[in-house]
């Protein structure tokens, strides 16, 4: 569970930049200044073309030159899946563009998220039993479970997502028994004792999903004497094929 964050490699010294910009034409300079002016927010290719007011051929040529000289870079923008987004090479894309901590290359870093979920679950199940987001975060820090930086809020995001997955439950501390170390009324998390709907569910399956009609995509078309009916239903036939 590690993300390579060698940001230094992406940065360029100002001295090097002046050498690279020396042979640029006016149009290239103009484009470069617009892009740099946007700092970490960057600019979409459409907007850049509109602002620079250059003919398409000249515009494409300028972009190509600037990218080749590593003065600008193309960055992913999670808000739009189409078009390109440019930014000065010395800037880091803002969280608005990248999606924030849980995104890598414009995509959700599911591997990282799942790793955190797994560790949080183990912490709650085997070590803390009941804990606040702060408690889980402190455990991370004390035991040095992650080399990178992770904030309390990010741990809270993970825990909230686990609640949505029914892996853990959100409860308020009663101050009694296992909650004795947590102030009364504070939001805390614990493993779902009944099992929830997670993959390791111990609870009984829902009544509807244990019969074919419960999840049938054609239920609206099904009538007693219709083309699709319970007597000629293929899902029923398969279900009752012992």
């Amino acid at each position: 569970m590690s993300r390579v964050q060698d940001t230094m490699a992406l940065k360029r010294k100002r001295g090097d930049q002046s050498l690279l910009t020396q042979s640029l034409g006016d149009a290239d300079h103009n484009v470069l200044n617009i892009i740099k002016g946007k700092e970490g927010r960057g600019i979409s290719s459409g907007e850049l073309k509109k602002v620079s007011n250059l003919p398409t051929t000249q515009f494409n040529k300028s972009i190509k030159t600037l990218v080749a000289r590593q003065l600008i870079k193309e960055v992913p923008n999670i808000k739009t899946s189409w078009g390109k987004h440019y930014m000065g090479a010395e800037f880091e894309p803002s969280a608005e563009l990248t999606g924030g901590y849980w995104y890598a290359d414009g995509k959700l870093d599911q591997e990282l998220i799942n790793s955190f979920k797994k560790i949080c679950f183990q912490i709650l199940q085997q070590k803390l039993k009941v804990a606040t987001a702060e408690g889980v975060h402190s455990f991370f820090i004390k035991r040095k479970l992650y080399n990178g930086e992770i904030s309390r809020d990010q741990i809270a995001e993970i825990l909230r997502s686990m609640v949505l997955d029914n892996q853990i439950v959100e409860v308020k501390s009663t101050g009694l028994e296992e909650y004795h170390s947590i102030p009364v009324g504070e939001v805390c998390y614990r493993c779902a004792t009944g099992g929830g709907l997670g993959e390791t569910s111990k609870t009984k399956t829902g009544a509807m999903v244990s019969i074919p009609c419960g999840v049938c995509p054609n239920i609206r078309l099904c009538t007693p004497d219709g083309v699709i009916s319970p007597t000629n239903c293929v899902y029923y036939t398969k279900w009752l094929d012992f």
Binding site: E177, T203, V215, P224, Y236
Partner: protein, 531 residues
């Protein structure tokens, strides 16, 4: 308390009536369910049945507690005398209860034993019976006087447990409100927003025997001579509207009603069974979601307060002191290991507020509505999970918790679902009526945002209708399988070998799966409709 049936609810109810009482009775039942309360003339008009058939069907439905009659007074035309007419209303919930008779029988068997079960089954089969009707049945050649004593004891047990009750008035009279009453209502309406009861609700309330009479078992009822006791019973039943209504009965039902009036009729008290199943559902849900300790404490609280519940759908358990809870908890085997701290911790788990100082005026009331709500959510989530997948289930739960509209991007962020995937899932669920969508425009329509929400009451109705549909399908498939392998089903035991034996085993397995699935599905229907 009266449920408006959904389309598939009606279809299931009609299917039940058709299979128990035939197509003609089912036709009358369907007419009442679809068109609402009607007088006999209109029932004949809509069903195109003969008067005799319509009247007989109504009598069957009334006998089996599926229809309630009541009389109303309307103004006479052209200054004539007021007219009294009999209306018939279908009792949808009571019809659906026929589906769960095996559950009711199991409860009686477990609680009161085999002998009580026998009497109880007769009541289920016949709908309404007098004590003497039951006694007649009981007096079969093989039985002796000791058995007769045992019968009386069993019947007393059934009444004491409130499993059976006196039948409601056959045809209560709903008098038109006086001018003073109308004026009082208008005055009250200015201050309260209470919706006025429908005529059906009023009729049911009027028909119900008073609480003091409902479970009153008079020992003089236990004579072997029905004629002798008829007068006494009629006096004990004499609800104010009883005599008044008799003049108004329509000719078809007049004789029947007059005969019935002579004896106290008893029927199964569905309300008590729904209450017990509701309690059981709450306890089992808590056991699965929390732990055995919390389930034991909840069971104890519900057992101690059951008789004091004023209606089935109570939102909170009747407040009980910690001493009374402890007293009830230690009655059970699991509860004997629990001390008061453990009981308090379980009460806290059940959502009870802990008093700052324990011991002084320490009473607890458990939020049953919340427990049932969580059980309903669990059922719906399991459907969403299986139909749309894990990510969809996460999104659905987020929207359910939010209880307001949420924008696609925010949903994507909070659920760790890629925005594009989230949009696809949301659209699919919206198409299937699981979600509500709202388009929000910004910058004079240049930018559009999609907002999503779960509209719980609408969705819950939709899910319940799907459940009725699924239950109907299970019944239809079950009937089809029985019909298809009729010969196999009737196969004598000695011939169940080899290939025929295998086919019999398969037939038995299919029947078992279909019937057990229907019972499980009915638990979910109860959860969404009756609890």
């Amino acid at each position: 308390m009266l449920t408006t049936p959904s389309q598939h609810g009606i279809k299931l109810a009609v299917n039940l009536i058709s299979s128990y009482f035939g197509d003609i009775v089912a036709k009358v039942c369907e007419c009442l369910l679809r068109k609402g309360t009607l007088p006999l003339v209109q029932i004949i008009q809509f069903t195109e049945l003969t008067k005799q058939n319509a009247v007989n069907s109504l009598l069957v439905l009334i006998q089996h507690n599926c229809v309630q009659a009541f009389a109303t007074q309307t103004e006479g035309k052209f200054g004539g005398a007021p007219r009294i007419s009999t209306q018939y209303m279908a009792l949808f919930d009571n019809i659906i209860h026929h589906l769960r008779f095996p559950k009711f029988i199991a409860i009686v068997n477990e609680d009161l034993g085999k002998e009580c079960e026998e009497i109880f089954v007769w009541l289920l089969q016949d709908g309404r019976l007098s004590v003497n009707d039951i006694l007649e049945r009981h007096k079969e050649p093989s039985r002796n006087s000791t058995a007769s004593d045992a019968f009386h004891e069993c019947f007393r047990k059934l009444v004491n447990a409130q499993y059976v009750e006196r039948c409601p008035a056959h045809e209560p009279f709903l008098a038109p409100p006086t001018e003073e009453e109308i004026a009082a209502k208008k005055r009250a309406a200015k201050f309260t927003k209470k919706v006025e009861d429908t005529i059906e609700v009023r009729a049911l309330a009027e028909a119900s025997p008073m609480d003091s009479v409902r479970f009153l078992l008079e020992t003089d009822t236990w004579t072997d001579d029905p004629e002798q006791k008829s007068n006494d019973d009629s006096s004990s039943l004499a609800a104010a509207g009883e005599k008044r209504k008799l003049d108004a009965l329509e000719s078809g039902t007049k004789d029947w009603a007059t005969n019935q009036k002579k004896e106290v009729l008893w029927r199964v008290n569905f309300e008590e069974f729904v209450r017990r199943l509701r309690h059981k559902s709450c306890i089992e849900n808590v056991r699965a979601r929390l732990d055995a300790g919390a389930a034991t404490v909840l069971g104890a609280v519900l057992e101690a307060t059951r008789r004091t519940e004023t209606k089935v759908k109570v939102e909170n358990s009747v407040p009980l002191s910690i001493d009374d809870i402890m007293e009830e908890v230690i009655k059970s085997e699991e509860g004997r290991t629990m001390n008061s701290d453990r009981v308090r911790a379980s009460l806290a788990q059940l959502g009870c507020d802990m008093p700052s100082i324990t011991g002084i005026d320490e009473t607890y009331s458990i939020d049953l509505k919340r427990i049932l709500e969580l059980a309903q959510i669990q059922e719906v989530e399991s459907i969403v999970l299986k139909r749309y997948g894990r990510e969809a289930c996460r999104i659905f739960k987020l929207l359910l918790q939010a209880d307001r509209v949420v924008e696609t991007e925010m949903i994507s962020k909070d659920t760790f679902v890629d925005k594009k995937d989230a949009a696809t899932i949301l659209h699919q669920m919206w198409k299937d009526d699981y979600l509500y969508m709202q388009v929000m425009e910004k910058d004079k329509g240049k930018q559009k945002y999609l907002l999503w929400a779960v509209k719980k009451p609408v969705l819950w109705q939709h899910i319940l209708d799907d459940m009725y549909h699924a239950a109907l399908n299970l019944r239809l498939r079950s009937a089809y399988e029985q019909e298809k392998d009729k010969e196999i089903a009737q196969l004598p035991r000695e011939k169940r070998e080899g290939e025929l034996g295998k086919r019999f085993e398969k037939w038995r397995k299919i029947r078992l799966v279909l019937e057990s699935s229907l019972m499980k599905l009915d638990d979910a229907i109860l959860l969404f409709n009756d609890f």
